[in-house]
Symmetry: C2
Subunit: 343 residues, 2 copies
């Protein structure tokens, strides 16, 4: 069953439905989609074709959803947005998409959102340039918003995205458990953009500092939760769901929460897992399977769900300062929705 | 012989000396260098090392020179700059450097400015991310300038850089002579950033529209001239001078002015050159050597010098509206300097 917004409705009673959240921003999301699919200025037919391919391939549009809901929740006339909020939503999705295109080059990924990646279908050269072009389009959007504070926030996000990836690359096959470094990397890679999207609309709305700060906390916590869930899905998810092979991050030596919970145990299981990673045996089918089993058998999954839930709860708690509205409710439901990905 | 600025002085009488131009902005250029080499915020030691490697490797700093000279020439109190002008110069060099780092990935280049490229010394992944990081740093600089017009100008430049490369990639081995497309590509790849750097300082100085427009024309014409000279050096330059093998663009099917002047002749030479490109024989040592000889023997070099000179003259003519000053003189000399690269 699909709603008017094209998003699947919930089928389990009590599970928050993504479509009900999208229904609250239907008109605005249509403008965002239009912009992404047709308003990107380029006079080159080939580039236009590539841009269409990138944006028509789908994507959940969770980041623009956060921008639109948080902007509507804090609008002077609740629910009324300006053109600047639409641009903010477009910008947020552009940065996300640009970083995916470059990540696929970096990870040599061949599939994304059920389609061949740009680097696979064409080549790395085209993918590097298309990512740059999307970042450039984001800069143009940022310019149109004409708010120096918002420009500063998104500038920081752009830096965070790169340094997050570099941090991850440098920590490959590192079995030292450092939770601060893990959360720090999750903020850089994911939560920084969530946080920018969640509070920039309130800045444009001229909200008080405490409301702005609350929404920033909401986005940061939700983003960390989202990244932890992503890391969990590498262990528990199906290829159909995640679009990549189970354990593919682990095989590449990306040590995340599920493995860290086992590694910090200081027992036989942690020693074996450490050995599999140190020896690079984890890159083989047998080694990866054994590591996945060790993580599943030693509470790595449950502890990771609990960690993600903590950040989901924190994100919901951050909303307490906001006036009640359907948009505020939807923001809280979004945190619950992110947690449903774990089940 | 080196001046205080570290740039070689002229040895031939009458040839404009780059060092005399740099001497006019010595203090400001020192601030730009400091910023590039040490003020780039990053808390990761590895990233810091990479940034140092990139910026300590040199580079002529022609783009920041244009920013500083044009800003000084149009300052309310001639010669007096603000911190914003320094940031503008840094920003311009950051964008240039970021695009070089990505170009080296795209071109699989192994040497740049006499050093191993990031992609060669490390790998493509690090180089893509470092380029992204430099673009991100540029966005942060842009944010600090807090001028929406300047933000819009540089946003456009970022888009132009990518579309210029994509245009070039799509035109590889294309022997149809289209001068508009060639100039258009040269603007996107090179002149757009020159133009942004040459007139944004005047915008910050609150100059009249005709002064701003004149400086934009100056930068665009100088940038086109610079690109044409670069294309010429692919045919006539030495490896020591350009850092890459003679004819390497031509071998890659990048058809530029020197070849185009021969291709449009409709004679035996043009037919042979077309054949070498169409057949991809140009990718071989013998084919490339024959093509280079055809271009040299059929006036390709002289016509290209004349074309570059036309744009150099136009850039100098664009300066007529500016009040006389040593900075204005230096801007004109810079156009002459670019032309000396051809001899």
């Amino acid at each position: 069953m699909k709603s008017a917004s094209g998003h699947p409705s919930a089928t389990i009673a009590g599970t928050p439905s993504l479509s009900s959240m999208f229904d609250l921003v239907n008109d605005e999301m249509a403008l965002v989609e239009d912009w992404l699919k047709s308003n990107l200025i380029d006079d080159n037919a080939f580039v236009e074709e590539l841009l269409k391919q990138i944006f028509c391939a789908g994507g959940k549009r969770i980041r623009p959803l956060i921008v639109l809901l948080s902007s509507k929740a804090t609008a002077r006339e609740v629910g009324k947005l300006s053109r600047l909020h639409i641009i903010l939503a477009v910008l947020t999705e552009l940065i996300h998409t640009a970083s995916l295109v470059h990540d696929d080059v970096i990870d040599k990924a061949s599939m994304r959102r059920g389609q061949e990646t740009i680097n696979k279908k064409w080549n790395d050269r085209i993918a590097v340039l298309m990512g740059d072009l999307l970042f450039a389009q984001a800069s143009i959007c940022l310019a149109r918003i004409m708010n120096p504070v918002v420009v500063g926030i998104y500038g920081q996000v752009l830096g965070d995205l790169c340094s997050g990836e570099i941090k991850q690359m440098r920590q490959q096959f590192n079995t030292t458990v450092d939770w601060n470094a893990y959360i720090d990397k999750s903020v850089s890679k994911t939560a920084s953009l969530f946080g920018a999207g969640s509070h920039s609309g309130a800045i444009l709305n001229g909200c008080s500092n405490d409301v702005i700060q609350s929404l920033k906390e909401y986005g940061l916590n939700l983003g960390i939760c989202f990244q932890i869930v992503d890391d969990l899905l590498d262990i528990t998810g199906s290829t159909i769901e995640t679009g990549k092979a189970v354990g593919s991050d682990l095989r590449n030596g990306v040590v995340t929460a599920p493995a860290m919970f086992v590694l910090e145990k200081n027992n036989e299981a942690s020693a074996r897992l450490k050995n599999l990673i140190d020896s690079r045996d984890i890159q083989t089918d047998e080694g990866a399977e054994e590591a996945l089993q060790l993580i599943r058998d030693n509470g790595g999954v449950e502890s990771t769900v609990a960690l993600a839930q903590k950040y989901a709860n924190d994100s919901i708690a951050s909303l307490s300062l906001l006036k009640d509205s359907s948009y505020k409710t939807a923001l809280a439901q979004l945190a619950e929705y992110v947690m449903t990905r774990t089940t």
